[in-house]
């Protein structure tokens, strides 16, 4: 099952040794010191290796097949999850999951892109690429949250909105625009986290929030590096250069003011330890939600407006 990217190999080998030793330590306490040393060394090697990744390698990590997806976080962070389905217009779209849950005892609305594990589920989830129905379901959730005064947590993880005939026939553009509008209007706290791939307008449709965070190896881009290279140089194999030019890695996003902070991932990336990744996300989300809960509805909408109003650079 686990896919290992070439540049991850040394880390994965070390992590395997840590796991073996940890198992041994359960019955043989004499290896405890060795275990701790190895854990420390592994974390250092992982940090060192991953800090040297090129932008396109970070893109690959953000798309890693073993990376935790929206429901992996929801299951770890929330209780009392009730999934809500359908756009009330045409269909249910499994590329986006939504529902209500308890988060630290508080009811919240959850909306996130959902990729699949394995071919069968990926076909069902359309590889996390929503049709208009997914965005209309999302809009419905933002309105539901607004109506019942519930905070919203969104999780962004999509290559982009699906480019297909049916999607165009049923108004992909309008669906995305309306989802952005519904988020802009809502008078409740909204926190968005880019947990993997943030692909273009299909990602932004869940991204108009009071606070926007990105995981350490998440990316967020106006166009995929492959698509960009195809347009600029008519050669998709030049995606590495496009990834570099587009400035889409977490540190870039922080520097450009797109995200409010970068959430660290476990040694080797979120997929090496989903529990720890969720715990680190939890720390940031719970603190932000507490801060935002002090604001009233109008102040929340104004803060969100001003946050996005300030983005952009020009001479005047």
């Amino acid at each position: 099952m686990p896919v290992v990217l070439p540049f991850e190999k040394p880390i994965v080998e070390l992590l395997d040794r840590v796991r073996d030793l940890r198992e041994l330590a359960q019955t043989d306490s004499s290896v405890q010191a060795e275990l701790e040393l190895l854990e420390q060394q592994t974390a250092e090697v992982a940090r060192e290796l991953l800090s040297q990744l090129t932008p396109i390698q970070k893109v690959q990590l953000s798309r890693h097949a073993a990376r935790p997806y929206t429901m992996d976080y929801v299951n770890r962070l929330c209780t009392d999850w009730v999934e809500l389905k359908g756009d009330r217009r045409f269909a249910e779209d499994e590329a986006i999951v939504s529902g209500v849950a308890k988060y630290h005892g508080q009811s919240v609305v959850i909306v996130g892109h959902q990729k699949g594990r394995g071919t069968k589920e990926n076909l069902l989830r359309n590889f996390g690429m929503p049709h208009p129905e997914g965005y209309r379901k999302a809009s419905r959730m933002f309105e539901l949250a607004d109506k019942f005064r519930l905070p919203v947590l969104t999780f962004i993880d999509t290559p982009g909105a699906y480019p297909g005939i049916g999607a165009e026939e049923r108004g992909q553009s309008e669906a995305i625009g309306s989802s952005i509008a519904a988020m802009a209007r809502a008078k409740v706290p909204i926190i968005a986290t880019i947990i993997g791939e943030g692909g273009s307008g299909g990602a932004l449709a869940l991204g108009v929030a009071n606070r926007v965070f990105v995981l350490e190896f998440g990316c967020y881009s106006v166009i995929s590096p492959e698509g960009c290279a195809a347009i600029l140089w008519k050669d998709g194999s030049l995606a590495p250069e496009a990834a570099t030019q587009l400035k889409i890695t977490a540190p870039d996003l922080l520097r450009l003011g797109i995200v409010d902070s970068v959430i660290p991932e476990p040694p080797g990336g979120a997929h090496q330890d989903a529990d720890l990744a969720a715990a680190q996300l939890d720390e940031v989300l719970s603190q932000s939600l507490a801060e935002l809960s002090l604001l009233d509805g109008d102040a929340l909408a104004d803060q969100r407006y001003n946050r996005f109003r300030a983005l952009g650079t020009f001479e005047s």
Binding site: G171, E174, G177, I223, C228, W233, F308, R309, L311, S316
Partner: protein, 284 residues
């Protein structure tokens, strides 16, 4: 999936095939040759087959604004190069070229105008400027258009012709979609009309933000309108697209626009619409 498509025309087909110093033009629809001034006098609409050729923003201004007069807003905004982007040619050079080619500083003009005597907030994309793509300046000007319209209680008429978000400003371009739609939402909350005109072509990040959120959406006759570009879709589904796919009439059939309009009838139609929408009992 929001960027200017290479297969969208950057210059008019008829210009490329002009015969003898551009005095004659070849219609892109019916291949009839006609004097250039005849086509210009008809706002780029072929007298034989009604094919709509691209016309510059200045012509749209003449066509839409009473006396061709526009009191321009935020005309001093100029693009920067936040990513130090280069595809071989630096973005700053591409901007200079576009400015020279279009004679304008950026891909949109906004301002106050009158339409059949009624004051409006007017915006018009400049497709000749990097495919009308939306970077920070375009996003800022659209946001200011909606904000000024809200402050002055003016109905908004926005003419869109854009390949989408501007790749060269990366993620900041994507954020312009959120910024402009948020401003539009404030306008909508105050029940001020927004007439959205989708000209040829309207795709990507412009289509997927404010373009379809008009109180009335008007598609220009024959315009290509959609989220993803046709080639992206063909490469994804690995089949040829049906004739007329993503054309204005296709959008009308699928309920995405209120009407398809000839360029020549658009102003009068909008005048009528604003008369209706502004005559309700709450209207000031």
């Amino acid at each position: 999936m929001a960027w200017p498509e290479k297969n969208l025309p950057t210059t008019d087909a008829s210009e490329k095939q002009s015969l003898g110093e551009g005095i004659f033009r070849l219609c892109g629809g019916c291949s009839v040759t006609m004097p250039a001034e005849e086509l210009d006098a008809n706002w780029g609409v072929c007298p034989s087959c009604s094919h709509h050729h691209l016309i510059p923003a200045a012509a749209w201004q003449q066509l839409f604004c009473d006396d061709g007069a526009l009191d321009e807003w935020a005309a001093d905004l100029r693009p920067q190069d936040p990513l130090k982007f280069s595809d071989g040619t630096p973005y700053t050079d591409r901007v200079k070229r576009a400015q020279k080619k279009s004679g304008l500083p950026e891909a949109i003009q906004i301002g106050g105008a009158k339409l059949h005597g009624r004051p409006i907030a007017y915006g018009s994309f400049v497709f000749q400027f990097m495919g009308g793509s939306m970077g920070s300046v375009v996003g800022e000007k659209i946001t200011r258009l909606f904000e000024r319209a809200l402050a002055d209680k003016l109905p908004v008429v926005l003419l869109q012709a854009s390949g989408g978000a501007r790749m060269q400003e990366g993620i900041l371009s994507l954020m312009q979609m959120a910024k402009s739609v948020a401003a539009l939402e404030r306008l909508r909350a105050q029940k001020i009309p927004f007439i959205s005109c989708l000209l040829h072509p309207t795709t990507g990040g412009v289509a997927a933000s404010f373009a379809f959120l008009g109180d009335v959406n008007i598609a220009e006759h024959g315009a290509l309108i959609g989220f993803a570009g046709p080639r992206v879709i063909e490469n994804t589904i690995r089949q040829k697209l049906p004739a007329g796919f993503q054309r204005a009439e296709f959008l009308l059939d699928h309920g995405m626009v209120d009407m398809v309009c000839s360029r020549l009838e658009m102003k009068d139609t909008i005048g009528q619409l604003l008369d209706h929408l502004c005559s309700g009992s709450d209207a000031g």
